[in-house]
């Protein structure tokens, strides 16, 4: 089975109220439009994250407004800010507590690479401890940039063979 790229097909004139699709595409379509973020706010990026969720930018336009402060109810970790070594294993633990399928956005320079902190105390990129799907540049990124990352992630999810992944073990499902 190759990677699916089929999206939901709907032609109102022919099918009227019927929608033709593949199961993969349907699963992906449901997943990508209802991402529940786990706001891992660790520094100033978290302020921009809050702004993204608030009225002006309104992340709910993309179906990702249900910020859950419990990892067990989320499927998208937005790492917003500087991950120190002291915090690193706590972030990893929260990530491990999130149920599959799950995705991760590294928001801003610090979360992506350690940013300006070439230092003894800062983890040089959160991808050292967990798999990242989308990196956002900026220090901090503007809310539009985060929304762009969210749309990029939605595109990525829509290309996933969701059904195939379902049959895999959670460990193999990572990344």
């Amino acid at each position: 089975m190759t990677e699916t790229k089929t999206t939901v097909g709907y032609a109102g004139k022919i099918e009227d109220e019927a929608i033709v699709t593949q199961l993969d595409a349907a699963v992906d379509w449901v997943r990508k439009n209802s991402l529940w973020p786990m706001p891992m706010g660790l520094a100033c990026c978290a302020i921009e994250l809050m702004s993204t969720a608030a009225s002006r930018f309104d992340i709910s336009r993309f179906g990702a407004e249900v910020m859950r402060f419990s990892p067990r109810q989320s499927d998208l970790m937005i790492v917003a800010g500087t991950v120190t070594y002291k915090m690193a294993l706590a972030v990893k633990r929260i990530w491990d507590q999130m149920p599959d399928p799950k995705w991760c956005i590294a928001m801003g320079a610090c979360a992506s690479t350690g940013g300006m902190y070439r230092s003894y105390s800062v983890l040089q990129g959160v991808d050292k401890i967990l798999p990242v799907d989308v990196y956002v540049s900026g220090c901090p990124p503007r809310p539009e940039a985060l929304l762009d990352a969210l749309i990029k992630l939605q595109e990525k999810i829509s290309r996933e063979p969701g059904l195939k992944n379902l049959k895999k073990t959670p460990a193999a499902n990572a990344t």
Binding site: Y85, K86, A88, L89, G114, Y117, R118, S119, Y120, S121, V122, Q124, K128
Partner: protein
């Protein structure tokens, strides 16, 4: 300044030659007018007690305690106490020299409760131990971290370490750095860069390689 001078006089009267000659710092632009005095390590707690309890001085607020690593100097370390009085407005800086072979200083936590965290930070970053401190643990780094990162012989990029289940560290890639800023008129000249003189020769040669 008058309060600070009175404080130094009181210290000299009580502790004699264990109190050195004070050093004044004043700057018209910023309006700073400050006095620093070095006291012997063994009398620092008593000196602080005196400065706080003497009604005419009443240094009731400990602004900060900071550590200094002179590295090449002898004695190597120094601990600075910045005292302020809300009653009189007096500001005084006390300095204590700390030798490398015995990095201990009497704690002032009994005089100002707020010293507790300052001393823990100083211990964490420089490895200076405060005798009589009720709870001398690391405050920023975690228990079991093997280094004292603000010491001059600790590299900027850090060193690898691992405390299982707690935290790990790795050396950060410096890409030929450290990047150092220097005083200059134009922002472009002040910008952090690899400065030839700021680096040891072997590091500099490594950075030049393509």
């Amino acid at each position: 300044m008058a309060i600070a001078l009175a404080a130094v006089n009181a210290l000299t009267k009580r502790f004699g030659d264990k109190v050195r000659t004070p050093v004044a710092f004043s700057d018209k632009v910023t309006g700073r007018d400050e006095l620093s005095v070095t006291v012997a390590r063994e009398v620092i707690a008593d000196a602080c007690e005196l400065l706080k309890t003497e009604p005419a001085l009443a240094f009731d607020f400990l602004l900060d305690i900071s550590g200094v690593d002179g590295y090449d100097t002898n004695p190597r370390y120094q601990v600075d106490y910045l005292l302020y009085s809300f009653k009189t407005g007096g500001l005084l800086r006390l300095k204590v020299a700390v030798p490398e072979e015995d990095p201990t200083v009497p704690s002032v936590t009994k005089i100002w409760r707020g010293a507790e965290w300052h001393e823990r930070e100083c211990y964490d970053m420089f490895g200076i131990r405060f005798t009589g401190h009720p709870d001398l643990r690391r405050i920023l780094m975690w228990d079991g971290y093997p280094f004292h990162p603000m010491r001059k012989d600790f590299p900027l990029e850090g060193k690898p370490s691992n405390v299982p289940e707690v935290a790990f560290t790795e050396a950060a890639p410096l890409q030929g750095g450290p990047f150092v800023t220097v005083p200059a008129e134009h922002a472009a000249d002040r910008e952090p860069r690899i400065r030839e003189n700021a680096l040891p020769a072997d590091v500099r040669d490594k950075a030049k390689k393509p």
